[in-house]
Symmetry: C2
Subunit: 330 residues, 2 copies
């Protein structure tokens, strides 16, 4: 049974006396706007990735084809979209503001880093997964050696791109430091992956589970939002707001991911379903059940949106994106 | 039979009429100075690495212990030393000039990148090596999953360090771009590794062999020298000189490495000897024989030193280091 739509609930709680059919119409409008943000964001991330990744005909071809195989496998480009929309919010006063020129390159670098982590996570020595986004994983298609090197190369390429962004050098080094830390071993992506590996077939406590989620997933999502803000010249206070938003939606995103692993088929997911149960992983739903996990995710989204209240209407897209991350559960 | 000492030959060719015993005494003095440069450089690189790598007691411990296992396995720290001495040459007019403050952090980042490449090269899917610098390889000591992630993490940590160097942000992004490109897929370290993998059990031509050596080894050595120069504020012309020097010594270094693989024992090398022959790899000595390969290496060293003539006596340490790379063969 799906839980009630959190957006309608939110609007009802506004107590502004608007009738339900008005709210319903507004929701349809929001959905259409959000769909446009997602589609346009994905398209511009893809154009940037196409430009910034060496072509498959570039020597040595195998590695470039392997990098492209995994990058162009139908990802939603959530991290680039969050990055670009954070930049748009900071640079404009309205949600119709234009994107800061060149910010899609930050998004492309984030997607390269995300893809490198997927390629390495899928390796036989780690999750040993054959399927990713509905296609053979990199090592299945190109062999283990090239997959390891393709992951390495996507990480390298990301930093080469970030070093050449069209923003002041000071902002570039800030973005690089932020992203490197978020993907590192201390409260970052690799640290989360290590603790996750070591927690298999054990029963970690809630603190360990939260460490895994915050580090493995939320850290890079947070860096995406913060990096986009930095690109657009955000103040220290604005960065702190973006960080709070990113941390909350990042954790909500991972909770929903764990739920989807339980409730959806491999076909729906585009990757092997039920992996967590098979690996006896502790997840939010395994500790709290599905309903309570989703309530927790909703609360985190509300908290994320509250962080952005001071940005007024300019924050509406990031707020819609926060809700969208949780709506995926339906 | 060892070939004649190229430094004595060089001095004889100077035809400055100095008697042999004078040259011999000067050589002993140079050896003592060089030994000091190598020992002090290694010590300051090690101190920087100790400071910049998370301690083995830092959560999650396994990954930090694995990173340190491979980094502190007795490397010569050649890349950091080349980087620091390039910086010293640019910043001072004499070879007794002081090091630019904080340049050892560039060196430490270079060593992290070099170590990441060794960890991944040693994996079962690549070279499948059990021994490195006389110790068990990372995956032998910590398992494959942690070894893959430790390599990833060393790359990440290198960029986090580079983003926080004590030089202007403009120089930092230049250094990051230079190093990322040198370790990437196009004429860089990963590209060289891919072509090397694909050349096994084949008979690649000289052009392919030179591509492998220039990309797999010389590119990062060049970036070490160029990066050190950039840190010290080198001009575009000075960078071009350093690049020429780095490319020549990098290729000479790899030729000598191939010779050592044939002529030394595993114990002397601290890694498995005879690997190239076993893998039927084409190498310089397999194409030209040992003597001709060493003559080629000597010529490259002379070429490297000629690039630095305009720096006068400030270049003496880098010139001595160039000779040292080839002298390893004895």
């Amino acid at each position: 049974m799906p839980p009630p739509d959190s957006r309608i609930r939110k609007h009802e709680e506004d107590a502004r006396g608007r009738p339900f059919h008005f709210l319903e119409a507004r929701l349809l409008y929001c959905d259409a706007m959000l769909k446009q943000v997602l589609e346009q964001g994905r398209a511009s991330a893809d154009i940037a990735l196409e430009r910034l990744l060496p072509p498959g005909t570039q020597h040595p071809e195998s590695i470039h084809r392997a990098m492209r195989h995994s990058v162009f496998a139908g990802g939603k480009r959530l991290r680039p979209i969050l990055c670009m929309e954070a930049g748009r919010m900071i640079s404009g006063t309205s949600s119709a503001g234009t994107l800061p020129a060149g910010i899609e390159d930050v998004g492309a670098a984030l997607e390269m880093l995300h893809t490198y982590s997927l390629i390495h996570d899928d390796l036989p020595a780690l999750d040993n997964d054959d399927l990713r986004r509905g296609r053979p994983t990199c090592h299945k298609a190109f062999g283990e050696a090239i997959a390891i090197l393709a992951g390495d190369a996507l990480q390298t390429q990301a930093y080469e791109v970030l070093a050449q962004l069209r923003c002041p050098a000071e902002a570039r080094v800030d973005i690089i430091r932020e992203i490197a830390h978020a993907t590192g071993t201390i409260d970052g992506m690799i640290g989360g992956q290590v603790v996750d590996l070591e927690a298999e077939h054990k029963k970690p406590d809630l603190a360990t589970l939260e460490y895994i989620h915050r580090s493995k997933t939320a850290a890079l999502i947070t860096a995406s939002v913060v990096g986009g803000g930095m690109y657009a010249g955000a103040t220290v206070e604005q960065i702190a707001r973006l960080r709070g938003y990113g941390q909350s939606i990042g954790l909500a995103f991972q909770i929903v991911d764990d739920v989807l692993d339980l409730t959806q088929t491999s076909e729906q997911l585009g990757k092997t379903a039920g992996k967590d149960t098979a690996a006896e992983k502790t997840t939010y739903p395994s500790l709290f059940g599905i309903d309570e996990s989703l309530r927790k995710a909703d609360a985190l989204v509300a908290q994320a949106c509250a962080e952005l209240n001071e940005f007024g209407s300019a924050a509406s897209t990031l707020k819609d994106l926060a809700h969208f991350l949780v709506e995926r559960k339906k």
